[in-house]
Symmetry: C2
Subunit: 206 residues, 2 copies
């Protein structure tokens, strides 16, 4: 039995992606051989090369599978009209992000792969620069939220919207890195909600 139905083929593709995530995370992207991925997935390298051009494309698949829904979530919160105060929307999106990170080990794996177990050279340099754009979109959306906060008067007097937007972005990015650098369970995981609250409180009026 060699030829599978389309459905079955999609399943083995998914198995390969799952295996890749696991092996990337354990061995690092460079030291991961496609043969190891195939073995964990229960197939041979033939199957891997059939579904993906090579390691870079496989890496991309691993990332996209997790990142698209994550970005959508953040955008949805920032666009949610039910938040009267834009600062609440910003805080909610950040809080939600770290909550998902806490609850979803798969997401943590992918972040750890991208931040600690991958070298961005050659093919992977492009892969990464391409991944930067959607994050820029989020950044812009946060900037606009701060602008609206300034207009509606919820922002503390004297603070520049653009400046605090960049500050918030750096804060989030830095917090994420620290959490993963030190090992998620070890670090200041418990302090995150307080840190986010404190961060936002600094720029609220009153």
């Amino acid at each position: 039995m060699v030829r599978k139905t389309k459905e079955e083929a999609g399943l083995t593709r998914q198995q390969i992606v799952d295996a890749a995530r696991a092996v990337f995370h354990e061995c690092g992207v460079s030291r991961t051989s496609l043969e190891a991925v195939a073995r964990v997935a229960g197939v041979t390298r033939g199957a891997v090369y059939w579904h993906f051009k090579g390691k870079a494309e496989l890496f991309l698949a691993v990332r996209e599978e997790v990142f698209s829904p994550l970005l959508a979530r953040s955008h949805a919160i920032l666009d949610d009209e039910r938040y009267t105060d834009p600062l609440d929307a910003i805080e909610a999106s950040i809080t939600d992000f770290f909550k998902v990170l806490d609850e979803c080990p798969t997401l943590r794996q992918v972040f750890e792969i991208m931040m600690l177990r991958c070298e961005y050279v050659d093919e992977f340099a492009e892969v990464q620069s391409e991944a930067l754009k959607p994050s820029t979109d989020l950044q812009v959306k946060i900037e606009r939220a701060y602008l609206r906060a300034a207009e509606c008067g919820s922002l503390r007097a004297g603070v520049e919207p653009f400046a605090v937007a960049r500050d918030t972005w750096a804060f989030s990015s830095g917090l994420l890195h620290q959490l993963l650098d030190v090992g998620f369970e070890n670090g200041l995981k418990a302090e995150v909600p307080a840190m986010v609250a404190a961060h936002m409180a600094l720029r609220r009026k009153g």
Copy 2:
């Protein structure tokens, strides 16, 4: 002529370290063969293996050479008694850090290697966890500075010293990552002084 004087040997060691930095940066640590390092250094693999146990030890040497003086700088500023307001010392240390980063391409190279061109698995996982301790010391020193600021009344009323300390650390770390992710020259390099000033202004009284 094979055997060199001690002085000459120290020089070739340095050449190897310099070559390693360059090749690590260009190819990524994994894809760097010690033969490539040797070639760039103008020696053979024999010399590399003589001076270093292997790639991991060489990587460590590349890092230490640049990081020790950098950490010393930051500590010196934070310990400087001439700053009346601890918040000034904190701001100065951060400003100084990004100034050095701007002025020293070698430092940027090493940071880029560590953050974008190295996979922290196996031997390198230990290498990195070991690198985390000195940064923790800095973190603690910043916490203490914020505590003193609270005591001497320069901190805005209602802000918790520990919370803003963590916020500052996340901010710095995040800013560094962003600068290098996007390519130092492209990004918000020009905005850095303003960002640092805005970050500190948020927690100053008045």
